[in-house]
Symmetry: C2
Subunit: 78 residues, 2 copies
């Protein structure tokens, strides 16, 4: 049975592509990945907080919250 | 073709199981997941640094480093 893994982010333009790569690397036979832009869907902030999300980007997977810190490469800023 | 995703950690007893769940959630048809305990394999610290790892736990995936901050649930400490 598939479970839903939820990736919460706030649209950081440099980081979001790389971070979505992490979400997309999850096994599609086990996880439905939902990507939620909390800046655009403020109605879901409360849900994210209830799941334990303290900062974005974060991935909620099997009930555990992983706060992800992707140090953007300077190449992306050139 | 599979690529190798490397999960570096230092054996935090509360966190490591949950963090390995993240590594194990990756798509096995696309990724070989290697788990490296840097506390036990200090010879690989230099390799991790070269890949951009600044703290553990971290996941190196497709050349990008994701520093993962798992806030351990208090339940694990009871």
């Amino acid at each position: 049975m598939k479970t839903t893994a939820t990736f919460y982010h706030a649209g950081c333009p440099v980081c979001v592509a790389a971070e979505q790569n992490l979400a997309n690397a999850l096994d599609p036979s086990r996880y439905n990945v939902e990507v939620v832009h909390l800046g655009e869907k403020k109605s879901r902030v409360q849900e994210a907080e209830a799941a334990g999300v303290q900062s974005v980007p974060a991935l909620v997977l099997d009930g555990a919250v992983f706060h992800i810190n992707f140090g953007a490469g300077l190449e992306a800023l050139k």
